[in-house]
């Protein structure tokens, strides 16, 4: 398959099951809601070493938030429910509770499975915390130095998908980066997904395993342009730079949509902008049960 001079490889991206939740962070103004959300989703690019993958889904208008203030919705994913609960609790405690004027709500209500949100953070109130049941949901009012930190007690957990991806193969770093930026801009319009790496783009895609026993992932040498003559390379001579976009989503269908608009945005730039191929992180079935076939997605 070739779109606008860009070859779409006959391959698939491998993804794996994760547990995810959506949180809504509000603040006195949009600036501080974003600061809090950025802190919460920091150092959350890959479960390999961060314990979770998290990102900002979108900004929320005051009319869309529970307390009528400006907000940001974030998605956070981990390999299991317990891991997710731990990450949510520590990050909320250190990054949202601490952030001026913030409040924290579940963005996934009425789920069958739930994890603690403010349930344990309340103890920060040292006995002065106040519980309020509003519309059947429990909230905690925790006294803090700037007033009260309001947080919902629990948030829902969704069976999610992590690690959807595609690779952009270009003639130069600058062209690969420009294409990825165009893709990310379009993909951020799709709900229920995040691209957890810095700016949504990862330049150090990994393969499963390593020659070093301590590591379970290592550089994807087949796509490293400087190793064309040293390893079993998957790159043609004219490809000088490869970048990857990783997508986590609440459902496989959400990732399908995000990949479609992202790949399309890259292909719109086309061969004339140095884009040669679109490929994917295919690990021969070692990584996970979800397979995103590039040509099917773009059909």
């Amino acid at each position: 398959m070739i779109i606008n001079g860009v070859t779409i490889d006959e391959t698939f991206a491998e993804a794996f099951p994760m547990k995810g939740t959506r949180l809504i962070i509000t603040a006195l103004n949009a600036k501080w809601a974003m600061i809090s959300a950025q802190a919460f989703t920091g150092f959350a690019t890959s479960v390999i070493a961060c314990g979770c993958e998290a990102g900002i889904e979108r900004e929320l208008d005051p009319s869309e938030t529970p307390d009528g203030r400006p907000g940001v919705s974030v998605l956070i994913f981990a390999m299991g429910g317990k891991g997710l609960a731990k990450q949510v609790e520590t990050r909320a405690g250190q990054c949202i509770l601490t952030s001026p004027t913030s409040a924290l709500f579940s963005g996934l209500d009425n789920s069958e499975k739930e994890i603690a949100l403010g349930q344990n953070l309340r103890y920060f109130g040292d006995g002065f915390q106040i519980s309020k049941m509003i519309d059947g949901k429990r909230y905690w009012r925790i006294p803090v130095m700037d007033g009260e930190f309001l947080t919902q007690e629990k948030t829902g957990v969704h069976d999610s998908v992590g690690g959807g991806n595609f690779l952009v193969l270009a003639e130069s770093q600058a062209q690969a980066l420009a294409a990825c930026e165009a893709a990310i801009e379009e993909m951020r319009k799709i709900p229920n997904v995040i691209m957890p790496f810095p700016g949504g783009v990862v330049r150090s895609g990994s393969k499963v395993g390593s020659k070093f026993k301590a590591l379970n992932a290592s550089t994807n040498d087949a796509f490293c342009p400087t190793l064309k003559g040293q390893t079993k390379s998957d790159l043609s001579p004219e490809v000088e730079s490869v970048m990857e976009i990783v997508i986590d989503g609440l459902t496989k269908e959400d990732i399908d949509k995000a990949m479609r608009v992202g790949i399309q945005a890259v292909c719109d730039l086309g061969a004339e902008n140095g884009i040669r191929r679109i490929s994917a992180g295919n690990y021969g079935g070692k990584l996970g049960p979800y397979h995103f076939h590039l040509q099917e997605i773009m059909a």
Binding site: P66, G68, I130, M133, I134, R141, G147
Partner: protein, 271 residues
């Protein structure tokens, strides 16, 4: 189907225990079986059809017509359906109620919503003493649900209340929120003496400062903008009450008490 209607034949001289007449207990019963249900009247047991004219068949929609304050235990432990009372109701209306709706177009007696667990009671009139309270000797009053009173309430409203909401559009009697464990009581009118007496936790929300001032057992915590109030006001919108119509506010003067006890309750007054 038309509402199952119980119309009082004459005003009873003795108190009538109406607890068997709820949707849960009347489900799958024939008209004859309903008519034959025995009610405790004073120290007698009397057939339902000796006290009431019975019409209609929809047990999920029960109607008491020409009701008087002798009819006790209406909606006792009901878990489904709707009860409408035209006239006054006696004591213990909605006691142990778990779900459903009760509407009273009249006044209610003592211990309305006593130990209520869920559902909604709307009183288009006044409520007696111990609204939403606990039985004598018991430690937990209302543990859920919503009570709306368009008129005034008697003394000890929300005594031992543990959870849920009481909306009072008129005035609250003396000792409002006494011994309250948690939950919220909101008052649009005036409050009587000693409100919040021995309050442990919970919220008394007032839209105007009491004329008599605040008890010495409550300490002024200053004026604040509280983020939970807009959420709470938004949740009021679904109820048929003036509280659904008032302009939401989050700026309040906060008083904490009763400091003669654990002092974790609060009185919030709109500023």
């Amino acid at each position: 189907m038309s509402a199952l209607t119980f119309t009082l034949k004459t005003s009873p001289a003795q108190r009538v225990d109406c607890s068997p007449l709820t949707a849960d207990k009347l489900a799958d019963k024939t008209a004859a079986e309903i008519a034959a249900i025995t009610l405790v009247v004073g120290n007698q047991k009397v057939r339902t059809d000796e006290i009431f004219d019975i019409q209609g068949e929809d047990v999920a929609n029960i109607h008491f017509a020409k009701a008087t304050d002798k009819l006790d235990h209406i909606g006792h432990a009901m878990a489904t359906g709707k009860i409408t009372v035209d006239g006054d109701a006696g004591a213990y209306l909605g006691q142990f109620m778990a779900a459903g709706d009760i509407v009273i177009n009249g006044n209610t007696g003592v211990y309305t919503a006593c130990e209520m667990k869920g559902g909604t009671i709307k009183i288009n009139g006044n409520a007696g003493d111990f609204l939403g309270g606990a039985r004598i000797g018991y430690k937990n009053g209302m543990t859920g649900g919503t009570v709306i009173v368009t008129g005034n309430t008697g003394a000890r409203t929300g005594d031992h209340m543990r959870r849920g909401y009481i909306f009072i559009e008129g005035n609250a009697g003396d000792y409002c929120g006494s011994r309250m464990v948690s939950g919220t009581i909101a008052v649009l009118g005036k409050v009587g003496k000693h409100f919040g007496y021995a309050m442990k936790r919970g919220t008394l929300l007032l839209t105007s400062a009491p004329e008599q001032g605040i008890s010495a057992n409550f300490n002024d915590c200053g004026s604040h903008t509280l983020a939970f109030l807009p959420l709470m006001f938004a949740s009021f919108k679904k109820f048929d009450t003036k509280f659904a119509e008032i302009e939401p506010f989050s700026r309040v003067q906060r008083y904490a008490g009763d400091v003669s006890g654990i002092g974790m309750g609060e009185i919030l007054i709109k500023i």
